[in-house]
């Protein structure tokens, strides 16, 4: 199994390299530093949310409310700024706490009342987005100090790549270590495959899942802060629909939708792959609808792919008489 994972990670990484090279050779502008700057800016919030989402899906759950948590955080940040909170660290701290609390609500319904995460987070997807409209209505808050907004997208000296990617990288290392090299991670894989056996081994399934949803909320809020500053705009519809981009990346990255299987490296590669693909095709004037279709097909392929491979292998084995 471990070898299988590694080979899937390798396939996604390889696909990323191939798409990047082919894109650079055939599409005008893909080779330019500006292109990579945009890909990175777009990938940052997706990656931030994909990190906890990977862990959540590995335990056999899902969090579909992430985009709404992001949106609600944006509006609260805007409202706080308007009402006179002018310290950026304070704003960030409040937003993170808010995100964590929203995640805790998900976690409470799912682990406390034993409800399916799919149903609960579809509910809060609507609820949190609705609250975002309650906070700001159709208004947009965009009069943030320019120092903040430029700081958010400032490149690493000597490159065009925004420095925030370093924050994402550091967080990715943290999540990867937790998942792959800490006792907690072993418990996550165990409960994703067989929650009962995990419980018999002393894994606190409910508590662990609760904290994962809290982490998912907090990371979505962090993505919301970045979103607000990058676009210098807090609106209730910020980030609508990106939960699909996140889930697509996680599944394409080799995480099983049924839980118990997957690795973080593949997910990060898939976030990059989808970003390059989307932006590259945009540069090639492929219409937005076609882009959505392509993302959808990739998603289906990533879910069906491993099953088809397994079926082929079994058939081959059977006929080998």
């Amino acid at each position: 199994m471990v070898k299988g994972l590694r080979s899937w990670d390798a396939i996604v990484l390889l696909a990323l390299v191939v798409v990047a090279i082919v894109g650079a050779l055939t599409i005008d502008g893909v080779a330019s530093p500006r292109f990579w700057r945009f890909v990175t800016l777009e990938a940052i919030p997706i990656a931030l949310i994909a990190l906890p989402m990977t862990l959540v899906i590995i335990t056999g759950e899902i969090d579909l409310s992430v985009a709404s948590v992001l949106g609600l955080t944006c509006t609260v940040m805007g409202q706080l700024w308007v009402s006179g909170v002018t310290s950026l660290p304070a704003l960030i701290a409040i937003c993170l706490l808010l995100g964590a609390a929203l995640g805790a609500v998900n976690g409470l319904f799912i682990t406390g009342f034993g409800l399916p995460s799919l149903a609960v987070t579809i509910g809060t997807l609507a609820l949190y987005r609705g609250l975002a409209y309650v906070v700001l209505g159709d208004r947009a808050v965009s009069d943030y100090p320019q120092t903040w907004t430029t700081a958010a997208i400032k490149p690493i000296p000597g490159t065009t790549i925004p420095w925030v990617i370093l924050v994402v990288a550091a967080l990715a290392v943290v999540f990867a270590v937790v998942l792959h090299a800490m006792p907690i991670g072993r418990g996550l894989y165990a409960m994703g495959n067989n929650p009962e056996a995990a419980r018999f081994a002393g894994v606190n399934v409910r508590l662990t899942k609760f904290w994962l949803f809290v982490a998912s909320g907090a990371m979505s809020a962090l993505a919301g802060v970045f979103w607000t500053l990058r676009f210098a705009s807090a609106r209730a519809d910020n980030g609508t629909g990106i939960e699909l981009a996140v889930v697509a990346a996680v599944l394409l990255g080799g995480v099983s939708i049924f839980g118990g299987r997957g690795a973080l490296l593949g997910v990060l590669a898939a976030v990059a792959l989808l970003g390059v693909l989307r932006n590259g095709l945009q540069l090639a004037y492929v219409p937005a609808n076609t882009l959505t279709v392509i993302t959808g097909l990739l998603l289906i392929a990533s879910v069906v792919g491993p099953n088809v491979v397994g079926m082929l292998r079994r058939t081959l084995e059977r006929n080998r008489i």
């Binding site: 199994m1 471990v2 270590v177 090299a181 800490m182 006792p183 991670g185 072993r186 418990g187 894989y189 165990a190 495959n193 067989n194 009962e196 056996a197 995990a198 419980r199 018999f200 081994a201 002393g202 894994v203 606190n204 118990g260 299987r261 084995e317 059977r318 006929n319 080998r320 008489i321």
Partner: protein
């Protein structure tokens, strides 16, 4: 000797580098029960799966009634008249017991609707034949491993097959259920069926079978009529050496109370259960299937919450329903159902073996493969786990070897209170003696051992004291000197006077 009904000739099967079967032959005759024995990993279940159409052989032929048989799936095997009871029950947890029995061949009434009433009464009749008290309408989820096994048995005998293959059907059953199963099996045999019976319990094999085939390391070793064999001969052929004493019980000095259970009750499972296990003591919890033994173990270990009572380890109260705390206090539970409770089948042998110890194996918070491998390897060797690599999924191991991984997983935690629920289920003679020796040695080192076992010889051979449960209550507490088959069975069937 009657003519052969089903014949395997020169059958081989490999999984990657592992040769599970090499040039195996076997002849099953109608009206006969044929025993198949061999060590864990000898290839018995692989052979069964070939008969069931689950695996296709790499080489060799299978003939039924003189016709070559090419099975491309379990449905075909069933159509050919071969019914199979697999080593591990594979019920659909959300379907009812009756639905599980008649899966894929439900009785129909008008408009092709499923005739649930008939299904229910048919299931009830099957259970009556087996002397089982099970509600056909209850979902399969939550059935004990023994009950699951009984449902599988009911399913197989309801097929009225000409060939009945049973892979360790009795591993989780106690004497009474085994006797019923044997009566039904003999009736099928007398009606002309060919039966293949696999078990690690030799008394059963010798009582039921007319011929016995021994396998070792994937090869056929011998087939003889049962009268020409003795247990010792069979064991020597299986293992290739003498096996040390089966019940190497050491005399120990009983120390202070280690595990104290007081007035434990859980609605619908057990009531007012109280007992003490001292340091150095092996206490067996005996009883019929469904008496509530496993439920008590689960409650002590914090898997289920109890409604009343308390559990103390070394005088310190355990919090109700908290498994992590129980483990921290030094309690270990080897559960009855290795596939559902004992192991995460998709994970590797080493991940499974080290799961309860993942925190203590970490260095500076980090858990690296090397320390897991080292820890797992030590115990895998001690219990002679036969596995390709420790990084292989535990599902690729044979049933007995999976059981050894469960044991390794918990013995490695160095428990102070060791609860073992059917610890040797599916384990071969050689290793069974080793497991008994380990249990005995642990007790000598001061561990309190609570053992649930349906195998009466194991109970009588290993226990310092036998507690007997009947319908959720403790009905007897019998010291080793007075524990006999009669006294235990008396109490287990509710005729206690103790």
């Amino acid at each position: 000797m009657s003519a052969s009904l089903l014949t395997l000739d020169g059958v081989s099967k490999s999984f990657g580098a592992v040769a599970a079967l090499r040039d195996v032959r076997l002849e099953l005759a109608g009206g006969q029960v044929h025993g198949l024995v061999g060590e864990n990993g000898a290839g018995k279940s692989t052979l069964v799966k070939i008969l069931a159409g689950v695996h296709a052989p790499d080489a060799g032929t299978v003939t039924l009634d003189g016709q070559p048989l090419r099975l491309s799936g379990p449905a075909e095997a069933r159509a050919a008249g071969i019914a199979v009871i697999y080593q591990e029950p594979t019920l659909f947890p959300d379907l009812s017991v009756a639905e599980n029995i008649f899966m894929g061949r439900q009785p129909l009434r008008g408009l092709r609707r499923i005739d649930t009433a008939k299904m229910r009464t048919d299931a009830g009749e099957l259970f009556a034949r087996l002397g089982v008290h099970l509600d056909p309408d209850r979902p399969a989820r939550g059935l004990s491993i023994a009950d699951q096994q009984l449902v599988e048995i009911a399913k197989a005998i309801s097929l009225d097959a000409r060939v009945l293959v049973m892979d360790e059907p009795t591993a989780a059953l106690s004497g009474v259920e085994v006797e019923r199963l044997f009566a039904v099996t003999r009736a099928l045999r007398d009606a002309g069926a060919a039966v293949l019976f696999i078990s690690h319990r030799f008394d059963e094999v010798f009582a039921l079978c007319q011929r016995i085939t021994v396998m070792r390391d994937g090869r056929w070793v011998s087939t003889d009529p049962v009268d020409a064999l003795t247990v010792d001969v069979v064991v020597r052929r299986m293992v290739g050496r003498e096996v040390s004493a089966m019940y190497p019980k050491q005399d120990t000095t009983v120390g202070a109370p280690r595990l104290q259970v007081r007035g434990l009750s859980r609605d619908g499972a057990f009531a007012d259960v109280g007992f003490t296990v001292h340091s150095g003591e092996i206490v067996a919890l005996a009883g019929l299937v469904g008496a509530g033994r496993s439920e008590v173990c689960r409650a002590i270990f914090g898997i289920d919450r109890y409604d009343a009572g308390e559990v103390l380890v070394d005088g310190v109260r355990l919090s109700n329903g908290d498994t992590a705390a129980a483990i921290k206090a030094g309690v270990a539970l080897v559960p009855e159902d290795r596939r559902q409770q004992g192991l995460v089948m998709e994970l590797s042998v080493q991940r499974n073996a080290t799961l309860p110890r993942r925190w203590e194996l970490a260095r500076g918070g980090l858990l690296l493969g090397a320390s897991e491998r080292r820890a797992a390897a030590a115990w895998a060797q001690r219990l002679q786990v036969k596995a390709g690599r420790l990084t292989d999924a535990v599902s690729t191991l044979s049933g007995g070897n999976q059981q050894k991984v469960v044991l390794a997983k918990w013995l490695a935690t160095k428990p102070r209170v060791l609860i073992v629920d059917e610890p040797t289920r599916g384990i071969d003679v050689g290793t069974k003696a080793e497991v008994h020796r380990l249990l005995s040695q642990l007790a000598a080192e001061g561990v309190a051992v609570l053992m649930v076992s349906s195998e009466l010889p194991e109970v009588l051979g290993m226990a310092d004291r036998v507690l007997v449960m009947h319908e959720g209550r403790l009905t007897a507490d019998i010291p080793r000197q007075r524990a006999t088959e009669e006294s235990v069975m008396h109490a287990a069937t509710g005729q206690a006077d103790a």
